[in-house]
Symmetry: C2
Subunit: 390 residues, 2 copies
């Protein structure tokens, strides 16, 4: 275990060995929204920076559908920089010289936290579809247990984009007293019909692959790589914008001077998407893709409040900074604004920024100066109110 | 052969028996844009109404990607009404009491015209991927031969939406003297990067299905139904709009009162998309899907004019009515407007209508009164100029 990691492990939880990550194993049941419970579970995570003496400087970063805990370090599988290394690090907007940053692989994921590829204690085989369906609230419940074990009562901030933003909102509703500041980015209070549709296409692509084997591919030594690649290709288009694709690829041909009059990747956009599909399957588990897309589809924050989102936020005491991107058509500004309206109606402290960009949904992961200025400015202000030293 | 069908069959062409359609077989080569040629070919088509004495009242309707020649009669496979029976028929905007309407299955299609499922004269097997890649211009070239054989020198109008609109534009550029009026609807002068991307996802979904067998599934007695269904599901979302999906489906559950916490079709949108995928594979050939999406990707009207679309239209003498739909994000108004700008720059006679609707790209197939008013009004005006009797 890293020397710098706080350890308040109780009898029910202990640090365990996990490849390339910290990992907390919980020898306790986790009740799930679906009515089932996990008999035990484990959460893989990374930390950056130093927790201060009164444990008031912790920021939880929540990752999106295909992200993981490697937010600001080299990825152990791909060798690439952490997925948000522009946002998190020394001197970055989420400044690890000032804040103690935690990022945990979500429940249902495939980078060390309990998910469909994990061993089912009942039979020692991978869970596959025997893992109960996980919700965003289940993910947050597990994260809260991790935060407990790290000895942190109240997080200074919870931050995340897309499915990560759903977790941020859920934290603010489930544990209002434990979240000082919340930054939901490019997200929505519930998944729209169109987005459920795109997720369903991805799931059907995976399930149509005969190597999926009804989910039991790991036991049978197979992998539904083609189906998962198609799912990723379809999803990837939705993360961009027509304008970004036009500027980046247009109708440019790939390594050729003329059309080949065949079905090879003539156009750069085709080659790019095929590459996205092929590299994705090397780092991601197909069943996790099913579980995490399902969690997004099921997300509907107002559902337990007779559809009144403002009522969901009624007890929210956090300060909010909601951020959207002008060209994001997957989680458009209107969805993010509906969060702001409900927060306003509930009397919460909320600011809202729509970042002008043509890069679509993916903008939250990219070099967007206005995004960085907004996050760092909001955190600086919140830190003053919280009494954190400059 | 129907008594009402004009027949000027030459030695090179003759009417042949074709299930549920008229069909013209051409015993002549058809040169293709890719450099190859078909040694012979056949075009399945339907006609409605009566050709007048001076053959000046013929309207060619061009179908979209998954359409066919059954524009205004019951479909022989599905038993459903023709795909544009709201637009074409007695008293309809394209009034078969006044006009002689022709609709031909495109080259590369799967409803009787020569396509990848047709027999390859070289070996008697289905062509599969041995069919040369077809372009929109190739489709139009074949249609022009059909129009020749019907004894029609000049079409009163050419009308179509989406890929049908591409054919309309190509007609006006390839055969300006043969098109009196042109109505391109919900289309574009070239396929965008995003649209190529969506088509590529569909092709990869088909090709990922092991029952595709490198294209030779017909010979092997198989069908890549799962892959084609996934392709259709992904495409179908793009034909609608977020708003239409929200109003039609929202987050409503399908025949159940609560989430099942599983991977069944909990939501109506999932059930709807699965149904779209399953019914599509019963009527459509997977290789045709590859060929026709490729034809759309390759479409780029300005390419032979150093990218200057106005130059492509330089010789166009037709009257144009360009129509777009406000919520169409696949062929957005901006794409249609670029056609109008180029037509204006080339000095053509052009009108333009953006129909306000929330139904997305599919609106061109639906009950849209403003669309119908626009088409019937434009045709009535054109008929007066053309000297057709009221």
């Amino acid at each position: 275990m890293d020397a710098g990691v706080p350890n308040h492990a109780t009898a029910a939880a202990r640090q365990v060995d996990c490849p390339s990550s910290l990992c907390m194993a919980f020898a306790e049941t986790l009740a799930l929204d679906g009515g089932d419970a996990l008999p035990s579970f484990q959460i893989a995570y990374q930390v950056y920076g130093t927790l201060n003496a009164d444990k008031s400087n912790a920021i939880l970063v929540c990752h999106a559908l295909t992200g993981d805990q490697h937010v600001a370090n080299e990825h152990p599988v791909t060798g690439k920089a952490g997925w948000w290394s522009l946002m998190v690090g020394p001197g970055r907007p989420i400044d690890t010289d000032r804040y103690f940053v935690i990022c945990a692989n979500v429940l249902g994921g495939c980078m060390g936290s309990t998910g469909p590829a994990s061993s089912n204690p009942a039979n020692g085989e991978p869970y596959a579809l025997d893992l109960p369906v996980i919700t965003v609230r289940d993910m947050v419940r597990a994260q809260a247990r991790l935060v407990d074990e790290l000895g942190i009562e109240k997080l200074f901030a919870v931050v995340g984009g897309s499915m990560g933003g759903m977790q941020v909102l859920q934290w603010a509703v489930s544990y209002p007293e434990r979240v000082f500041a919340a930054i939901p980015i490019a997200t929505a209070p519930r998944h729209t019909s169109q987005n459920i549709g795109f997720n369903e296409v991805g799931r059907q692509a995976v399930m149509a692959d005969p190597d999926w084997c009804g989910g039991k591919y790991l036991t049978l030594g197979k992998r539904p790589a083609k189906g998962l690649a198609v799912a990723r290709m379809a999803a990837h288009i939705t993360y961009l914008s027509e304008s970004a694709l036009h500027h980046k690829f247009g109708r440019h041909l790939q390594d050729r001077e003329a059309l080949t009059f065949g079905f090879d990747a003539d156009f750069q956009i085709e080659s790019y998407l095929r590459h996205q599909g092929m590299t994705f399957v090397e780092r991601f588990d197909a069943n996790s893709y099913l579980y995490l897309t399902r969690a997004m589809d099921y997300f509907d924050l107002a559902k337990d409040y007779r559809g009144r989102l403002a009522d969901a936020f009624r007890g929210a005491t956090s300060r909010f900074c909601v951020i959207s991107f002008s060209s994001d058509w997957l989680f458009p500004t209107a969805e993010n604004r509906s969060i702001v309206h409900s927060l306003n109606a509930s009397g919460a402290n909320v600011s809202f920024v729509e970042v002008e960009t043509d890069r679509g949904h993916d903008a939250f992961l990219l070099d967007e100066p206005e995004l960085f200025r907004t996050v760092s400015g909001f955190l600086r202000g919140a830190a003053r109110v919280r009494g954190l030293a400059e």
